[in-house]
């Protein structure tokens, strides 16, 4: 009970203060509902637009999820490949970095030209945004294995495959899961951005990023923030899910997931 109070009270107080300031600014300045919608106006807008927002959120969630899963899967395999030899790392790492350094905005026209607007380019943009942290962390995890344990496997006469499966993969797991946590926080942003840049309302109403354009064009700022609120909630669900996975996989043995004795 005490613990619960310790955990929930501070954010409630901080949130309350933020709301007071928010309303305070509206009451004491000339900013109207168009320039600064109030929280209850945003909630009203969200309720009015619930069907549209639900559909847009479903699209964005699907895009974020697919991009995330692709980055998690392909990132894992590429890291495995990169960890195999120093030559591979030297050969490919600059290009992985280059992909990260290139602004997605510049790639977007090509993605749209190749795949047309819609889910495919949005997923690809999410993938590009999530990919690098997965590769960087996981490759590090695969290569930073305790030397003594490598010796142990050598003494046991283990094959390279056994060493990979029974030593390198489990050693890298905490790094991989940390990478997934970072990727999970990037995926919803990637999906909304991707949708903003390459989304389409051709077959449906589009995702949250596309709705942003629509609402802004219609000067519906409360609805705009309602879309932002939905994206934010989606991000929490996404990150929460991966945190749960992280805890589930590591809590029995890894320091990071264990409470201090």
């Amino acid at each position: 009970m005490n613990r619960l109070r310790q955990n929930t009270l501070p954010p409630l107080v901080a949130g309350g203060c933020a709301l007071l300031i928010w309303y305070g600014i509206r009451w004491t300045t000339h900013l109207g509902p168009f320039l600064l919608p109030l929280p209850h106006e945003i909630l009203e807008a969200a309720w009015r637009e619930r069907h549209t927002l639900a559909e847009a959120t479903a699209f964005t969630f699907a895009a974020a999820f697919l991009g995330f899963v692709a980055a998690a899967g392909i990132g894992f395999l590429l890291s495995l490949f990169l960890s195999w030899s120093v030559a591979f790392r030297r050969a490919l790492m600059p290009f992985v970095l280059a992909l990260q350094m290139t602004p997605v905005i510049i790639l977007t026209p090509f993605l749209v030209l190749w795949m047309r607007q819609g889910l495919a380019p949005v997923v690809t943009i999410t993938f590009i945004i999530c990919f690098f942290p997965v590769v960087a962390n996981t490759t590090f995890g695969f290569t930073a294995v305790d030397r003594n344990l490598v010796d142990l496997f050598q003494v046991c006469g283990a094959s390279r495959f056994d060493e990979l499966l029974r030593l390198r993969v489990p050693s890298a797991l905490p790094h991989y899961l940390t990478a997934l946590r970072i990727a999970a926080s990037l995926a919803p942003i990637g999906a909304v951005t991707g949708d903003f840049l390459a989304g389409s309302a051709e077959n449906s109403i589009g995702g949250l990023g596309f709705m942003t354009i629509t609402y802004f064009a219609e000067a519906k700022t409360a609805e705009l923030l309602a879309a932002g609120l939905t994206a934010c909630l989606m991000g929490f669900i996404f990150v929460g899910g991966v945190h749960l996975l992280h805890w589930w996989a590591l809590h029995a043995w890894h320091d990071s997931a264990r409470r201090a004795e």
Partner: protein, 255 residues
């Protein structure tokens, strides 16, 4: 084989780049010997051990186990490291079973053998715990159980009890000798502790540093099995003094 040595090192040298680590090591070890390697830091004791284990090749000279290179008899050897080197994501039983797992031993046979080994080192109640839940001494016992699971003919130990307090160390020394009565192996044991070397071994090799050379060989005549009371024996204390003196003579000059 007859009178031929079990393990033979002939004129073995090892250098790392231009830096010589070990020079002209000649050593003949009989089956059942317990050989302690003792010397100041940087005398190449651990390197010597790794070469006998076949995980580091000598730069010159030859190491033979029953006339074969160490790599050829790797299945009969096991190494106990300074740290317990347990895999943190595996429970104790599964850690102890790792070498047999890597040898594709059948699961039932493996489970049986793991239980037997855990029983031997008094760790059966901890079989389902993770390494972090064990004390340092228990972790080391798990490491020993893992090493003994393959019934090694040669056990190479690199300061296995170096990080333990003296009481745990004495206890584990006695346990180690008791284990050897039940599952005989030839032992190479690297240590910094003179008391440990005298208590455990029948032969002590004192190494001098930079580069490592054999400075003295001391025979320890006490028969096995040895008990803890041996530590108070005047003859034991005499050998302790003799070994300490040998070690002091190879100590690098104070700067």
């Amino acid at each position: 084989m007859g009178t031929a040595s079990f393990v033979r090192l002939r004129n073995v040298s090892k250098s790392f780049g231009a830096v010589p680590a070990l020079e002209a090591i000649d050593l003949e070890v009989q089956r059942g010997d317990f050989v302690s390697l003792i010397g100041p830091s940087g005398c190449g004791k651990s390197t010597l051990l790794r070469m006998i284990a076949g995980i580091a090749p000598p730069s010159a000279g030859a190491i033979q186990v029953e006339g074969q290179p160490p790599e050829a008899v790797r299945r009969d050897m096991f190494f106990v490291f300074q740290d317990a080197t347990l895999l943190p994501w595996r429970r104790v039983a599964s850690n102890v079973g790792l070498p047999l797992e890597l040898r594709r031993e059948a699961p039932e046979r493996r489970r049986e053998r793991v239980r037997e080994m855990l029983d031997l080192v008094d760790l059966l109640p901890a079989a389902d715990k993770y390494p972090w839940q064990l004390s340092g001494g228990m972790r080391m016992r798990a490491s020993l159980a893992r090493a003994l699971s393959i019934a090694p003919r040669i056990l190479l130990m690199d300061e296995p009890f170096g990080s333990l307090d003296e009481m745990s160390r004495d206890r584990l020394n006695e346990d180690l000798l008791a284990l050897r009565e039940r599952a005989p192996f030839t032992a190479f044991f690297v240590t910094h502790s003179v008391a440990e070397a005298v208590f455990l071994s029948n032969r002590i090799v004192v190494l001098s540093p930079s580069p490592g050379r054999i400075a003295a060989r001391i025979e320890v005549p006490f028969p096995y099995p040895r008990r803890g009371e041996l530590r108070e024996d005047p003859q034991f204390l005499g050998l302790l003094a003799q070994t300490t003196a040998a070690l002091r003579s190879v100590r690098p000059a104070p700067r």
